[in-house]
Structure formats: structure tokens, C-alpha cells
Amino acid sequence: MGYPHPSHPREQVLLSKYFGDSGARTYAGWVDRGGYQGLRKALGMSREALIEEVKASGLRGRGGAGFPTGLKWSFMPKDDGKPHYLVCNADESEPGTFKDREIMRWTPHALIEGCALAAYAIAAERCYIYIRGEFTEPWSVMTEAVREAYANGVLGRNALGSGHRIDITLHRGAGAYICGEETAMMNSIEGKRGNPRIKPPFPAVAGLFGMPTTINNVETLAATPHIVLQGAAFYKSLCLGNPKSTGTKLISVCGHVQRPGNYEITMGTPMRELIYDMCGGMRPGRTLKAVIPGGSSVPIMTADEAETCITDYEGVIEKGSMLGSGGMIVMDDSADMVYQVWRLARFYAHESCAQCTQCREGTAWTTRILERILAGKGKEADFQLLLDLSEQMTGKTICVLSDSCAAPIVSGIQKFRGEFEAYMSGARRPALASAL
């Protein structure tokens, strides 16, 4: 539902049904609302059947990459005698994204249920939930919910009487964006500096503590009990666009719309409908200028592209961007695109882990160039320089942080070149004091 706004009739509420309902936070309240039925059913199935069910549902990773979840689970080695780990990525540090926070705040048991289900599927006895450091309320809610889950036998030596051991450990981040990257997260859990690791080896081969590991996003895991309970066919039927994108997706809409919030849409819902109907459209007298559809790391879309876009993995790619985490930043005609691009670049420059040369130096350098343009000291050659640097920062590093910094810069220049030129020519007053 469009929390904190009332649910819109065009939403498909699966995960967000109890947002705002504090009764759903407790174990008893969750069970009253039909909770833990999905887990109970899953524990009665064979692991293979469970993974097949999730595969058949078409569920894809909701953290950003959109990798098929069932397929990811099936990569875990069978009967290898090693401990397996499940890591739930609750770091949600992508600017513009705030869906996992609400899942943990209102329906912590939904996440525990999903974690326990996935842990069983991949034969893991321990699941780490890596919660973003700034999430104080979700942290305390989750802490209490895990305590209750142990007290009620959902977790522990004999999870729901199934004979399987499932433990959940909450791990709190310390505020680094990069720890949301799955391999950096594993390093962080191990107590090391949160630097992304080189792949291969992939986590399913050598992940956390060198053991086979699966990393799933909060929203992905929370969706799995619904798939088990209501069937893969039901989940797969939730599709208005490309059949490769199924189910519901929480879209965190922020920025210049009348009703920002979390909207749970059926995959394939037109973006126009999301922005203008569900979110109430632009503020009075304003028109749509740009949308960053998937968190700050994806290319910026123009108003035209956004208004004709189908909101699913393929639809957004068709418009030259990515669905990413579903953090949708909407900007109206009052937005200064140069400033916005600079603000994003500054974020990435601050968060670069400093391993790869292109990222460490490139994010900082591009930020300085954008700063100079905003100070009214840009020059024509800066376009070529920014595009050159962006090319060097794309596809050449261990993780995609530097690609993420380059994406809004390149799309910003391509689509809003005039705004950059206005700063260069002096037509627009400098927005920053000169950095030089």
C-alpha cells in the first residue's frame, strides 16, 4: 500500500498489507494474520520441490540486479558437508530506496519467515540479517521479533517442529554504502573492512567465511512465503507486462510528487499510472522533468521516457535505465539537473571503498568538475572530459559503484546538456561558491 497513504485500488498488496498496522509486529499478531503458514508448508516440502516452486514463480531479486531467485538458490552445492549460510541484505543504502525499512518496521516476522524458508531451501543452518546502521527503529523491531521467534519455536534447534536447525543472527552495519554490495557485506560480517571481493569465486562456491552462501534482499525473502502459500502460478499471474517480470514490486517514490511513499505495484504497471494516479501527480503548476527509476545508481530518464515506461525489469531497460532497487526519484521542472548530478557524484565519491583506481580517483575527480561547473567555471571541454572519465569508470572495476557514479553523469549530460551549458555560459547564476 502507498504507506503512509491509504492503499490505492490499483496496488496489489502482498508485502505491504500490514504497513501501519502495529499489531502485525508481534508474533501473536502475525500468526493471527495468517503468518508462518508459508514457512510451515515449506518445511513440509522437499528442498528441491521448494526451489522448483520459487523458480516457477518467476521471482527475481528485488535488491537491484533482478537475478532469478530460485536459480540462485539452485547454485548452492548439494550434500557437500560444509556449512551453508544465508545472508539477508537489509542494508538498504541505495539513495531513494526505503521499502525494506518499512518491511522490517511493520512486518518483521514476514522477513523472519522468508529467511527461515530460504535457509531451509539452501540447507543453511544460520542466516545473517545485515541491517543498515542508521535503521534504529527497524533494528529494535527486528531484535524483538527474533527474540519472539526463538521463544515460540520458529527458530532454533527444531524450527517449527521440523527437526531442522535455523538460527538468525542480526548484524548491524556501521553506515557504509558499499556494505550493501553482497561481497563487501560478507567481508563486513566477517569483521573485515567492507571491500567488495573479486568474483569468481561466487558466493555460492566460497562466500561468507569461505563457505557456500546465498545473499537475498529483504523484499525478495519476504515474498517467498506468499509464493509457497498461494502457489507459483498465482505469483506468476501477477504480471501486466513482460512475462519475465512477475509478482509485486515495492516502489519507493520520493521527490516532487503529491503523495510520496511505498507503492506495491504489479509488475508491468505503467509508470505514468504510478506517478500520476497512485502518487497524485506533480505539485500544482509543475510538470514532470526527470525520473531516476531504480535508486541513484541508474541512468536518469526524461519525462517522455518515464511517461511511456512500463514498470518492470525489461520495460525500464527498454527506456535505457534499470529498475534497480525500485527507489524512484521524481523531479519536476524546478529541479536543477546539474546540481542533482553533482549531488549524486559527491555521494559516490564519499562512499567509494578506495580499492579500484578508477573508482577511487574517478568519483572524486568528476565531483570536482561538476562542482566547478556549478560554480560557473565550467567550459565546453568539460563535457568530453566527463564522458571520457565516465567511460573509464564503467565496466572496469571490481564492483559497480563507479559505474553507478558514471550512469547519472552520462545520462545527465546526454539528456540535460542545456542546463550544463547554461552554467558554463553564465546564463544561470552559479549555484555553488567557487571551489577554486
Binding site: I198, S352, A354, T357, Q358, E361, R372, K396
Partner: protein, 524 residues
């Protein structure tokens, strides 16, 4: 079982290499050096510098050659336009915060950043408007300074301390372009092998205080040598400027010391530059020593050596196999006691490399000496010297008490020495010999690996290798005399006389030595 081989083509050169090898190693086999910074053959590869990105056909993007393994039929392009552009980009990024203070940087001339930028970097900068990152110089340890401004964050030093020294005192501090190499609070880089971080640093960021501003890299002459510090026998280079030794550095030998050398060995070179040297043969006449030419000196030595009765040889463990062997032969067939002095210190292992340590026995040729009949029983030999007909001292430093004991000895004393010492006054004959830095020779390390070392600087005055002196006397007089004129010929004479070296020649030893059979019952 032989390794499975795969065929790869690198820049048009086809090579067969073992399966599982990385592209960067396979390229070396094809004679192609892929530019790199963070990769080092003795360290784990983090693939962070992104300098070794190469184009691999059928791969969606450029691959880091240091961690990508070869596959059969793989086609790699190191010098394609795309790969070169990526490297040019990395170099540009590395240079924006690099101070370019090459004129005052110790690394200049042997700097990998300088080399690669010269090879394929951009001619000019596009980072003109901004100040470069600044951090002050930090003192990391007794001999290591960290010049943060020059650092390219390849993390070789961090990985050396983490994974090889296994004393993790260095780290990457801060993030983004503010990052620098940090040292843990209250810690100092005083590990016994810490000096290696200076060699590992591809730029002039970690520098040796001992070598600071001593010489420019291009003014140095380098001679392959073997560290005389202990029985490990680490391979090293003696680096001289104008015939003064200014630095010792490890020379790679995967069987002995990989790429490393301990600080004890590295910094113990000042004795090689001593000025108080014996420069001419001295013969005792009444109460004085008189400088003579070599003919006179050798005749005198020949007379003293023949019919001396019992002989005691007290030798330095730094003496070569050649010198020890021929001096031992010079002592003749009568009763001979031969010993070397073995100073003892603390053992300091390098944890991450098996069988590599600064050893307790601080001489390089303990095992070679043993194979030639020199024992370690110094005290007994010294007592025997008191009653011997002839005592030969081969470059040993004696304590005052030992000098007093020997001064009262009954027989003759011959000194083959480098530096002037107190016992010279009592000696009947004092002959100037070369130090290991001034001669060619062979040491045998604790694994019975015979390794050659080469002359790094000229001998002072009339000094000659001890093997030459002994060899000349042994050759005697006459037209058929066969005295050795090179260390190689001296070694042949030793091999002919001592079964332990039978059949071995200098040419067999190469630059990394060869293991010889350990004597029966020998232990390390």
C-alpha cells in the same frame, strides 16, 4: 603427475601453460610483461589497481590478468587499442594525486609508475585546476618512511604484513580519494622482515631511511650475490655507487628466499666499506713488519707451510668454499685442526613462507665449511692453536682475550686478513685478502644449496682472494705449475680434492644455485 597443459594465444604468441595459471603469469612465459601494480608473485592478488586489464576474446568486458586464469583456446590481447586505453585511464587517475616530485624521489629510475607512464601514459594532464591530495610524511618504523602523497594504494605493503609477515600492522585507512596506508595505533613497523615493504612498493611511497637520498637508481652498479648474514643464504644484489656499497636488496630465488630478505641481512653492509684494510703483504723482520711484493710473500708462506708439523686453521664463516678448501689443502697432510667461528643470534622466521628465516647461525658458509672439514668447535681449536706448529687465521675477528691466548702460542702465525687487527703484531706473515664483496665464490647454505656470489667492488691495494694465495703456493715452482687464476678454476681444484664437491663446477650453479648431496649423518 604432469600438470595438464592448456594452449593460449597472447598478443599473437601461442604458449602452453599449466591449467589454472593466471593470464599475467602465462604472458610472462610468452615474453610479454603485462603492466601491473597490485599484483606480485609472492603475494595474494586483490586485483585492485586495474592496471592489468586485458582484452579476452568472448569475455564481455576487460579482465584483470592477475586473477583471471587461462582456459584452453583463449585469445588474449594485451596491446589492443581497448586495453591500452584502459591502462592510459588508470595511469591518468593515478597521476592526478601523484606529486611528480621525481627529481627528489629515491624511487626515480626504478619506479613502476614512471616506467608505465613513460611507456603508455598521456602526455599532459587534464587535472590542472585542482590541488593534489596532501598528507604528511609518516615514520612507520626504524627504517621505513611513508610518503603518503606518492602512494598509489596498490596495498602490496598491507598484504605483505598481513599474509607473509603475518603481523598485520598496516591497513588502508579512510575511503575514496582520502584513503591512505595507515599503521595500527601504538604499533610500529619493526618486524624483522619489515624492510621488504620498501622493495615491494612500486613507487617511492615507502622508502628506506638508510638509503634516503644516498644515490640515484641509475648511478648504481649491481652485482648478484648471496647474503653473508646467516645460513639461510638469501640471494641478494650488492648495489654500489662509485665502488661504495650503498644498499643490499633481495634477488628473487623461489627456492630460497622468494623475493625477500630480512632487515638484519639487508642493513649489515657497512663492513664492506671499511677503510682500515691491510693493503700489502707484510713479512716480519725482527720486531717490525715490512711490506713486500707477492713473490716474496708467497715464498715466505711456502716455507712456513712446509714442515710446520701440526697446523690449526681458524677461519671466518664468510670465507668461500674455494678459499676454505685451498687453505685446508695448504695445511698439508699432517695433523690439522680446522674450525670456523659461528656467532649465534635469535632466529626470526618469515611466517608466511615455509623454510625462510633469519637463522641463529650468523654465517653463510657453515655447511660448506663442514663439507671441507672445518668444525664449529672454536674453543677446542683455539686451545689446540696454543701448541701448534703453524696457526693460519683466515679473516677472523678475535676478542682481546683470544688475541692474548694466541700471542703466547708456541708456533708460527700467518694472518690472511681483511681489516687490521691486534694479532697482526704477533704474526710472522700478514697477507691482505678480499672480502666477499670483492671476490667471486661459492657458499653452501643450510639446505646444502651451493650458490655463487659475484664481485661487487674492487679489492683494495694488493689484496687477493685467499684461494689465490693458497693456490699459488700449492702450485709450487716450475714450468708445469697450475695455479688457479679464477674462482671457477679454484673451485675445480677444491672439487678434485674433496669428495663432497666431486664433479661440481661453477657453470652448473647458475644464478640460483644447485643442491648438493648432504654429507652422511649431517643435520641442519
Amino acid at each position: 603427475m604432469a600438470d595438464e597443459l592448456v594452449s593460449v594465444t597472447i598478443d599473437g604468441a601461442a604458449v602452453s601453460v599449466p591449467k589454472g595459471m593466471t593470464i599475467i603469469e602465462a604472458a610472462k612465459q610468452a615474453g610479454i610483461l603485462i603492466p601491473h601494480y597490485c599484483y606480485h608473485p609472492s603475494l595474494p592478488s586483490p586485483a585492485v589497481c586495474r592496471m592489468c586489464l586485458v582484452e579476452v576474446e568472448k569475455a564481455p568486458k576487460l579482465m584483470p590478468a592477475c586473477v583471471t586464469t587461462v582456459t584452453d583456446g583463449q585469445v588474449v590481447h594485451v596491446n589492443s587499442a581497448v586495453a591500452k586505453k584502459a591502462r592510459e585511464g588508470v595511469l591518468e587517475f593515478l597521476l592526478i594525486n601523484h606529486p611528480l616530485d621525481c627529481p627528489i624521489c629515491d624511487q626515480a629510475g626504478e619506479c613502476e609508475l614512471q616506467d608505465y607512464v613513460f611507456q603508455e601514459g598521456r602526455a599532459g594532464t587534464r587535472y590542472a585546476e585542482y590541488a593534489k591530495r596532501y598528507n604528511p610524511v609518516e615514520e612507520f618504523g626504524p627504517d621505513v618512511l611513508y610518503v603518503a602523497n606518492r602512494c598509489i594504494l596498490c596495498t602490496r605493503c598491507v598484504r605483505f604484513m598481513d599474509d607473509v609477515a603475518q603481523t598485520p600492522v598496516l591497513n588502508v585507512s579512510e575511503r575514496g580519494d582520502r584513503a591512505f596506508i595507515g599503521i595500527s595505533p601504538e604499533q610500529t613497523l619493526d618486524h624483522a622482515w619489515a624492510g621488504n615493504v620498501v622493495d615491494l612498493c612500486p613507487v617511492g611511497s615507502l622508502i628506506s631511511k638508510d638509503f634516503l637520498h644516498k644515490a640515484r637508481a641509475w648511478d648504481l652498479d649491481k652485482a648478484p650475490s648471496v647474503c653473508p648474514g646467516c645460513t639461510q643464504g638469501c640471494n641478494m644484489s650488492i648495489e654500489t655507487r662509485d665502488d661504495v656499497v650503498v644498499r643490499l636488496r633481495p634477488r628473487p630465488n623461489l627456492e630460497v628466499n622468494r623475493h625477500f630478505m630480512c632487515d638484519y641481512g639487508r642493513l649489515d653492509y657497512r663492513w664492506m666499506n671499511r677503510g682500515d684494510r691491510i693493503e700489502a703483504p707484510l713479512v716480519r723482520q725482527a720486531e717490525r713488519h715490512v711490506a713486500v711484493d707477492w713473490d716474496t710473500a708467497l715464498d715466505t708462506l711456502g716455507r712456513l707451510a712446509s714442515g710446520a708439523g701440526s697446523v690449526v686453521i681458524l677461519a671466518s664463516g664468510r670465507a668461500s668454499v674455494e678459499s676454505l678448501g685451498l687453505v685446508r689443502r695448504l695445511a698439508g697432510a699432517g695433523p690439522v685442526t680446522a674450525a670456523i667461528r659461528v656467532p649465534i643470534g635469535d632466529e626470526a622466521p618469515l611466517a608466511g613462507i615455509p623454510d625462510l628465516a633469519l637463522r641463529k647461525e650468523r654465517v653463510p658458509n657453515l655447511h660448506g665449511a663442514a663439507m671441507l672439514g672445518y668444525g664449529p668447535e672454536w674453543g677446542a681449536a683455539l686451545r689446540a692453536a696454543a701448541g701448534a706448529g703453524l696457526v693460519i687465521l683466515l679473516d677472523v675477528a678475535l676478542s682481546e682475550e683470544e688475541e692474548r691466548t694466541l700471542a703466547g702460542a708456541a708456533g708460527r702465525i700467518v694472518v690472511l686478513g681483511t681489516a687490521v687487527s691486534g694479532i697482526d703484531r704477533r704474526a710472522d706473515l700478514v697477507l691482505p685478502v678480499t672480502s666477499m664483496a670483492e671476490e667471486n665464490g661459492v657458499y653452501v647454505n643450510r639446505d646444502y644449496r651451493a650458490q655463487r656470489y659475484h664481485q661487487a667492488k674492487p679489492a683494495p691495494g694488493m689484496a687477493r682472494p685467499a684461494w689465490w694465495i693458497a693456490g699459488e703456493v700449492l702450485a709450487g715452482q716450475g714450468p708445469d705449475r697450475d695455479a688457479p687464476s679464477t674462482a671457477s678454476e679454484a673451485f675445480d681444484l677444491v672439487a678434485a680434492a674433496f669428495d663432497a664437491f666431486a664433479g661440481l663446477r661453477h657453470a652448473d650453479l647458475g644464478f640460483s644455485g644447485r643442491r648438493v648431496a648432504a654429507p652422511a649423518g649431517a643435520s641442519r
